[in-house]
């Protein structure tokens, strides 16, 4: 195996397999041992968070068997979707290394705006929603302007935004107080009741595995053609089957009760779209580059200002979306909407899921994972009869425990020289 890199050597190894110092996995056994290797060196992606989640679930289930009851899990999915969409926006802005403290206010204002325009002013609901989304995007554009033009730190500009928009929200609802959304409207139905028909849920749950397999299969073929190494087909198939089985089981279990909420479907759809945009488009690549090293990205010819603008606008627009969803969920546009811990929960979800506060590292899935962790804790504690003081203490402790697994894994990654 000491071949030189000469082009004319008789059996040139694959382009990316010429370095003899690298161990490569062969076949299924190799894949397993590579996986074990990765566990040992702590290079695990989001597995540790999942492990933390499983621990939390086990504990809560043993404390109150209602916790894993399908009914409760369906509620959990409804609750995840609203803040989850906001967290997805936060992921965007964290990836470029900035922050948005006003997501809570924006979501609250968006719900108020929908309430006022739709219920009070009688606009068509779709137009009201579009207006709210446009408002969200506009807010983001203002932050981006302040950031690009004046270099105002996003912490300060969005703090100012938090206050101003909360003021706007109070102003808008000032004369009426909270506005109830019609209980029988499609929007509220969507936020409270609408679940997928069983068949649709089963079909959708089969999609990821199939799409994954087909795409990876085609990529593998192209890689082989191009002289690159390609993953072992068996392991691809194994993974696809595994994913499908798990998802189908979840669907089956939840279908025992109401089934999968369409709202959760929307959230997951947004996550998948965002993941595609971040990992498979030039724009996403630029986002991660800007977050990792702004100056290097600028020197590579990336329009850094444009990237920041899109990040801020996406974040605010998604926050507005989340606000509309929570109004739908609550069937009301209230003065409290978006206040309290919405901000912290959204940011914490992104961070717990593995997105870095310092930019350049993160994934759309961290919003999904993080919000499930947070809402699981909240839901689990709701099932125990605790005084508020105990509930706060236990929430904090459980949060720490959920993240400790991930931190330990990352720590081991660092001690193995992999940052």
């Amino acid at each position: 195996m000491t071949k030189s890199v000469d082009q004319n050597s008789p059996v040139a190894p694959m382009l990316d397999r010429r370095d003899e110092r690298v161990k490569h996995a062969q076949g299924i056994g190799g894949a397993v041992s590579a996986f074990l290797d990765r566990i040992r060196s702590g290079d695990l992606g989001s597995l540790p968070v999942v492990v933390g989640l499983v621990i939390i679930w086990t504990v809560f289930q043993s404390l109150n068997p209602v916790f894993l009851a399908p009914n409760n899990l369906v509620n959990l999915l409804f609750d995840c979707s609203t803040v989850g969409v906001i967290a997805l926006g936060v992921v965007c802005i964290l990836i470029v290394g900035e922050i948005d403290l006003s997501v809570g206010s924006v979501s609250g204002f968006a719900s108020a705006l929908v309430g006022v325009l739709w219920v009070n002013q009688g606009w068509p609901v779709a137009v009201a929603i579009i207006a709210a989304l446009a408002f969200g995007a506009l807010i983001g554009a203002i932050y981006a302007f302040l950031f690009n033009r004046f270099g105002m730190p996003s912490f300060v500009s969005t703090l100012a935004g938090l206050l101003s928009i909360l003021g706007l929200q109070l102003y808008l609802l000032g004369s009426t107080g909270s506005i109830n959304l019609p209980y029988d409207s499609p929007l509220v139905n969507f936020g409270q009741m609408l679940v997928m028909p069983d068949v649709v849920a089963y079909v959708l749950a089969a999609l990821p595995g199939i799409v994954f397999f087909v795409l990876e299969f085609r990529t593998a073929a192209r890689r082989r053609q191009a002289g690159l190494s390609s993953p072992f087909l068996g392991s691809l198939l194994l993974r696809a089957v595994f994913v499908t089985v798990v998802l189908e089981f979840i669907v089956y279990y939840l279908n025992l009760d109401r089934g999968i909420p369409w709202m959760f479907g929307l959230f997951v759809g947004l996550v998948v779209a965002m993941n595609y945009a971040l990992t498979r488009t030039k724009w996403g690549r630029s986002m991660i580059a800007v977050g990792g090293n702004r100056e290097a990205a600028r020197r590579a010819g990336i329009n850094v200002r444009y990237i920041y603008t899109t990040a801020f606008m996406l974040c605010s627009a998604l926050a507005a979306t989340g606000g509309i969803l929570s109004a739908a969920r609550l069937a009301s546009a209230s003065q409290q909407a978006g206040t309290g811990d919405v901000n912290l929960n959204a940011i914490a979800a992104a961070v717990i899921g593995g997105t870095s506060l310092f930019g350049g590292r993160g994934s759309a899935y961290s919003a999904l994972l993080g919000i499930i962790v947070i809402q699981s804790i909240a839901s689990g504690l709701t099932l125990l009869d605790l005084s508020s003081s105990l509930r706060y203490m236990i929430t904090g402790a459980v949060l720490a425990i959920a993240v400790i697994v991930d931190s330990l894994a990352r720590r081991s990654r660092v001690s193995h020289g992999r940052a």
């Binding site: 109830n180 509220v188 609550l330 003065q335 206040t339 309290g340 709701t382 009869d385």
Partner: protein
């Protein structure tokens, strides 16, 4: 008579932590009455910490756990309408507690009236001012400190205070919605008004005892002596002590245990399939209202000590002993 009800689950959902009453009075009162009426019944207790979504989550989980009756003190009266409808569609009875749900017809409503509380403290202040012959000369007036601008209950109290003050002849010099009910904010605001209006401040209507304490601290810090008349609400120990010491004028004592017990009774009746008797009808809902008591130095002994809401030991430690003696408490 209660043999028919056993092993039922009842949820008791409280809104926030702005005062200690929910965990110190309402819940213990409710639980005690439930235990008396139905020892095998399970009471689920939750506090939403002033968070609408959290209350919704708690409401849903109560349903998941099989609650047949839900007693809810809504964080947001308007938003609770959907919860009520949702529960009723599953055959679950909802008792609105403390705050009404105007937009949906709950199965029963047990409360003191927050608006009435606001009006009561304002009226009490006005009467006191008039009794002490304080005239509203030009430029003088009272300050109004409301609760959190995002809190619906605070909005009701605010409305009541306005109702009490508007016709009183004492103009409102300035008013303030205290974010998160935070006493330091109330203090900072009051300090500013003392700078602005100085001796022209005849009194302060504060929406709860915490903000009242903040206002009193502001007067003390500015060296204003004696402190003008300051009202409060909730009858916290700290406020009662301030009344004993003569720094605060009044507060509102809500016999929460009694109201909670009434709610428990109604709940049991629902569980037995009976229709509870209504005293009045409010918001289209059968209701039972309780009248809160305004506590001042004059009736503190009678309303608090004698009704065993607090003990003399709780109130009269150390520096308050002398004041207590003056009020005849020992």
């Amino acid at each position: 008579q209660n043999a028919k009800v056993s092993n039922a689950t009842v949820a008791f959902l409280m809104p926030d932590q702005a005062s200690t009453r929910y965990e110190e009075h309402d819940y213990p009162g409710f639980k005690a009455e439930m235990e008396k009426l139905c020892p095998t019944c399970k009471v689920l207790y939750q506090n939403a910490d002033a968070n609408v979504s959290r209350q919704q989550q708690q409401f849903n989980s109560a349903i998941s756990q099989g609650a047949k009756v839900i007693v809810i003190d809504p964080v947001d009266s308007a938003a609770a309408a959907s919860l009520v409808k949702q529960a009723q569609s599953q055959g679950i009875k909802v008792i609105a507690y403390d705050r009404p749900v105007p937009d949906a017809k709950a199965d029963f409503y047990v409360s003191f009236d927050n608006e009435a509380i606001g009006k009561a403290i304002a009226d009490s202040l006005v009467q006191h001012l008039k009794a002490s012959n304080v005239t509203a000369a030009s430029g003088t007036g009272v300050l109004q400190i409301n609760g959190s601008p995002t809190d619906a209950a605070a909005g009701l109290i605010k409305k009541g205070i306005h109702a009490g003050l508007d016709s009183s002849g004492y103009p409102i010099l300035a008013e303030f919605d205290t974010p998160e009910w935070a006493p330091p904010k109330a203090q900072q605001w009051a300090s500013g008004q003392i700078t602005r209006f100085g001796k022209n401040i005849l009194g302060v209507v504060a929406a709860n005892d915490g903000t009242a304490g903040g206002a009193i601290a502001a007067f003390k810090a500015a060296g204003v002596n004696p402190v003008p008349t300051v009202t409060g609400n909730d009858a916290t120990i700290a406020a009662l002590q301030l009344i004993i010491a003569g720094d605060q004028y009044n507060t509102i004592s809500k016999p929460s245990e009694i109201v909670a017990a009434a709610a428990a009774n109604v709940a049991i009746q629902f569980l037995m399939g009976e229709t509870p008797k209504a005293e009045t009808t409010l918001f289209n809902t059968s209701s039972r209202l309780f009248v809160p008591a305004v506590i001042t130095a004059q009736n503190l002994k009678a309303e608090i000590i004698d009704k065993k809401i607090n003990t003399a030991e709780q109130l009269c430690g150390g520096r308050y002993a002398e004041g207590c003696k003056k009020l005849g408490i020992n």
